[in-house]
C-alpha cells in the first residue's frame, strides 16, 4: 500500500487527463450525488454525506472534509457503459434498396475513467459484463466502452442505511477488477488515501503521483475503517437457498401483498446498477429517406413489457413485481452464475413506498409475515 496525501489527489486527476481519459465521478447536484464529469478535485462532494432509509434520501453536511464520505447516489456507472439511449443503426433509403450502417463504426468510443467506484458497483459492472459480453453474443456499444475503461475504486469506510453488500458477498472491501483502489482516511489533522494498484495500467499511473510507502499504523487505520463499514450494514439478506426459495414460491400469496403496495413506478429498475432491460425504437425523419434504430432503457414493470400479439401475458402488478425480484435473486443465477443483486440498497431507498427487497425475501421465508413496518 502507498499513501497519497489529499493535496496530491489532483495530480492523480491530471495523470488520467494526460492519458486522454474523460473522468466521471461523484458531483453534488439537485440535492443528490450524481456521476458526472470530474475536471478537478474541486468537483468531488467534499464534506457531504447521505442518509439512506427506505423511501428516503437526504444529503447532509459532514463535520469533516471527506471527499468520498457518502455511500451511493441514485445513478450507477451503467449509464456510461450501457447508456440510457444509444443509436444502434442508421438506415438510408436508396430507391428500393437500403443502406444499413451500425453506429459504432462512425466515431471512436469514449475513454472513461470511473473515479470512486464502490465494491458493490464494481461487482455490478462485472455482472453486466456477463450479460453484455457473453459466450454467444457481445454488445458492440458496451464492449467498446468497457474495453477502454480505467477504474479508480474506493473502499467504503461507512455503510448506508439500506446497504447489504456484506450479505451478498459483494463488499464492502474492493476485491479485484480495478486499476487503482483508494481508501480515504480523514481526521485528527490528517487527510490521506491508502492506494494500491490492481493492474499494470494502474501501476503506471500511480508512478506519476507523489506518494510514500504506507507505515504500519496507516495500514491499520485503513483496515479499521473498512472493517467498520462491514460491521455496520443497514440491512441484511439471507442468501442461503435463496434461488430455490423464490423459484419454489412463485404462487405465494405474499406476492399479492407486495402488489397492493407497489406503484409499478419502475424506480427500482432505473436506479439498480445491474438491471439491463431495453427496448428498441425505429424512427424516420420527415423526408422518409433516413431511419434510425435506437435502443433505450426499459423496465419489466411497464405495462407494455409483457405484450405479445393479441394480448399481454404479464399484466397484473403482482406478476410484474414477482418477475423483477425472482429474476434478480433467482433466475439470474441460472442465467449468469451469480445473483443479479449487489446489495447497494438503491431500490430500497428510491422506492416511493419503501418496499424493501430484503424484507420481502424474509417474508417469503416466513410464509408471508413481514418484519418491516
Amino acid at each position: 500500500m502507498i499513501i497519497i496525501q489529499r493535496k496530491d489527489l489532483d495530480v492523480l486527476i491530471g495523470a488520467l487527463q494526460k492519458r486522454d481519459y474523460a473522468i466521471m465521478g461523484p458531483n453534488v447536484r439537485d440535492g443528490a450525488i450524481v456521476y458526472d464529469e470530474i475536471r478537478s478535485v474541486a468537483d468531488f462532494p467534499e464534506g457531504w454525506t447521505d442518509e439512506h432509509e427506505k423511501s428516503r434520501y437526504r444529503l447532509k453536511r459532514r463535520p469533516d472534509k471527506a471527499l468520498f464520505g457518502y455511500t451511493v447516489g441514485p445513478q450507477s456507472w451503467k449509464r456510461f457503459l450501457f447508456p440510457p439511449m444509444a443509436k444502434i443503426l442508421t438506415v438510408s433509403k436508396k430507391g428500393k434498396a437500403m443502406e444499413i450502417e451500425p453506429d459504432t463504426s462512425k466515431e471512436a468510443p469514449p475513454r472513461f475513467a470511473f473515479f470512486g467506484v464502490r465494491s458493490c458497483e464494481l461487482n455490478a459492472i462485472m455482472i453486466q459484463d456477463k450479460v453484455f459480453m457473453n459466450e454467444q453474443y457481445s454488445d458492440p456499444t458496451y464492449a467498446a466502452r468497457r474495453n477502454n475503461i480505467f477504474i479508480v475504486a474506493i473502499n467504503c469506510t461507512q455503510s448506508g442505511g439500506t446497504c447489504f453488500c456484506a450479505s451478498m458477498n459483494t463488499g464492502p472491501i474492493v476485491k479485484g477488477g480495478y486499476d487503482i483502489v483508494l481508501t480515504e482516511v480523514v481526521g485528527d489533522g490528517v487527510h490521506y488515501f491508502g492506494a494500491e494498484a490492481g493492474s499494470d495500467k494502474g501501476n503506471e499511473v500511480l508512478k506519476d503521483v507523489p506518494h510514500k510507502n504506507a507505515a504500519a499504523n496507516e495500514v491499520e487505520a485503513v483496515g479499521v475503517l473498512v472493517d467498520g463499514a462491514r460491521t455496520n450494514m443497514g440491512r441484511e439478506m439471507t442468501t442461503e437457498g435463496l434461488r430455490e426459495l423464490l423459484a419454489d414460491n412463485l404462487e405465494s400469496p405474499h406476492w399479492d401483498d407486495v402488489a397492493r403496495r407497489c406503484l409499478m413506478c419502475s424506480n427500482c429498475t432505473m436506479v439498480c446498477p445491474t438491471c439491463f432491460c431495453s427496448t428498441v425504437e425505429d424512427v424516420t425523419d420527415l423526408s422518409g429517406e433516413r431511419a434510425e434504430r435506437w435502443r433505450r432503457w426499459d423496465s419489466c414493470f411497464t405495462m407494455d413489457f409483457g405484450k405479445v400479439t393479441g394480448g399481454n401475458f404479464r399484466l397484473s402488478p403482482k406478476a410484474r413485481y414477482r418477475q423483477w425480484i425472482v429474476h434478480k435473486l433467482s433466475s439470474w443465477v441460472e442465467q449468469f452464475g451469480t445473483f443479479g443483486c449487489v446489495g447497494c440498497g438503491r431500490c430500497i431507498t428510491w422506492c416511493p413506498v419503501g418496499i424493501d427487497i430484503t424484507a420481502e425475501v424474509q417474508a417469503i421465508r416466513n410464509n408471508g409475515v413481514r418484519n418491516d413496518t
Binding site: 437500403m98 412463485l250 393479441g310 401475458f313 433467482s330
Partner: protein
C-alpha cells in the same frame, strides 16, 4: 438433460446488423396469413443455413422488426420463406410488399427441433394455427430420410377450414410421404368432412407407441398446455416431448430481456425446448 443444440451463425458477421434481402413473391395462405418468399441471393446464399425451429428478425424500413419463424426447406436455402400472420404494423407492411422490394434480415436465431434424436422413433407433430409454420421445416427434413423414422403423424388444428395453411401440401404429404394427417377445426362449415373439435381430442383416434414416440408441439400456449397434458397421458416420456415457446422479441440476442420465460431467454435458450426444461413453469399464470 439433452438441450436442443445452438447453431453457429454461418455467413453472418454481426447478429445485430440486418442484411438486405429482396422479395421474390408473396403467397396468401388464408385471408390474414401469407408466405413471404425471399430471393436470398444477397450474401453467399448457399451459406445461409438454418435448422428447423429457428427464426429471423425481418426489418421493414423505418418501422421496425418482427420475429418470424422460418418455414421453408432447410436443404433449399435459395427458397427461404416465412409464413406470417398479419397482426401488427410490421407484418402488415410486409404483407403489402411486391417483388423486388427490399427488407432487412437478421438471423437465424434460436434453438432447433432435434430431428437427429428422432432416428428410429415414431414422430408425432402437433400444430395449432400458425404453429404449423415453424414445424413445416421438420416435415421437409423428415421426408428427405423417411426410412430413418417409423410412423410420422401430423395432428393439425385451426380455427376453421378457411384458416388451414398449406392445404395442397397437406394432401401431398399424406399420399407421397406416408404421413398420417389428421386435421381438426374449432368451427366448421357445411362442406367440411374432417374432424371438428380440439387437437387433444385427436389423440383418441391414433394409438401411439408412446415410449417410442417423439412429439413436437407448436401453437397457442393454452392449446399446447392441453395438448401436452394429453400427450403425457398417452404415456410419451416427458423428455421426448418438444415445444416451441413465444414471447415478445426485440433484440433476438439475449440483451433486451423481453423474451424471458423464467430464467430462459426464448431467443437463445429457445424457442424450442425439451419439455422437462420448462415443465416447472409451464402452465403457471403470468410467468
Amino acid at each position: 438433460m439433452n438441450q436442443p443444440a445452438l447453431v453457429e451463425v454461418e455467413g453472418l458477421n454481426d447478429p445485430m446488423l440486418p442484411e438486405l434481402q429482396s422479395i421474390r413473391r408473396i403467397v396468401w395462405e388464408t385471408d390474414d396469413t401469407f408466405t413471404l418468399q425471399l430471393e436470398n441471393t444477397g450474401h453467399n446464399a448457399a451459406e445461409f443455413s438454418f435448422l428447423p425451429g429457428q427464426f429471423n428478425m425481418l426489418y421493414v424500413f423505418g418501422m421496425g422488426e418482427s420475429a418470424i419463424s422460418i418455414s421453408s426447406d432447410p436443404s433449399k436455402p435459395t427458397a427461404l420463406a416465412h409464413t406470417i400472420h398479419r397482426v401488427g404494423t410490421v407484418t402488415n407492411a410486409l404483407s403489402l410488399m411486391k417483388r423486388g422490394d427490399v427488407i432487412g434480415l437478421r438471423g437465424p436465431f434460436g434453438s432447433n427441433w432435434p430431428i437427429e434424436k428422432a432416428n428410429g422413433l415414431d414422430v408425432c407433430i402437433v400444430a395449432g394455427g400458425i404453429g404449423l409454420a415453424p414445424l413445416r421445416p421438420v416435415l421437409y427434413s423428415l421426408f428427405r430420410r423417411r426410412r430413418d423414422y417409423g410412423r410420422v403423424l401430423l395432428l393439425y388444428g385451426a380455427r376453421s377450414p378457411l384458416d388451414l395453411l398449406y392445404r395442397v401440401e397437406l394432401e401431398q404429404w399424406s399420399k407421397q410421404y406416408d404421413v398420417e394427417v389428421l386435421v381438426t377445426v374449432d368451427r366448421s362449415d357445411s362442406t367440411w368432412k374432417g374432424y371438428i373439435g380440439v387437437v387433444p381430442n385427436l389423440f383418441s383416434y391414433i394409438k401411439l407407441d408412446a415410449r417410442a414416440t417423439m412429439a413436437m408441439v407448436c401453437g397457442p400456449e393454452v392449446m399446447m398446455q392441453y395438448t401436452i397434458a394429453e400427450i403425457l397421458r398417452c404415456g410419451v416420456p416427458p423428455e421426448q416431448i418438444y415445444l416451441s415457446m413465444e414471447r415478445n422479441m426485440k433484440c433476438a440476442v439475449g440483451f433486451c430481456g423481453h423474451c424471458q420465460y423464467g430464467p430462459k431467454f426464448i431467443c437463445k435458450d429457445g424457442p424450442v425446448f425439451a419439455f422437462p426444461q420448462i415443465s416447472d413453469l409451464f402452465g403457471k399464470k403470468e410467468i
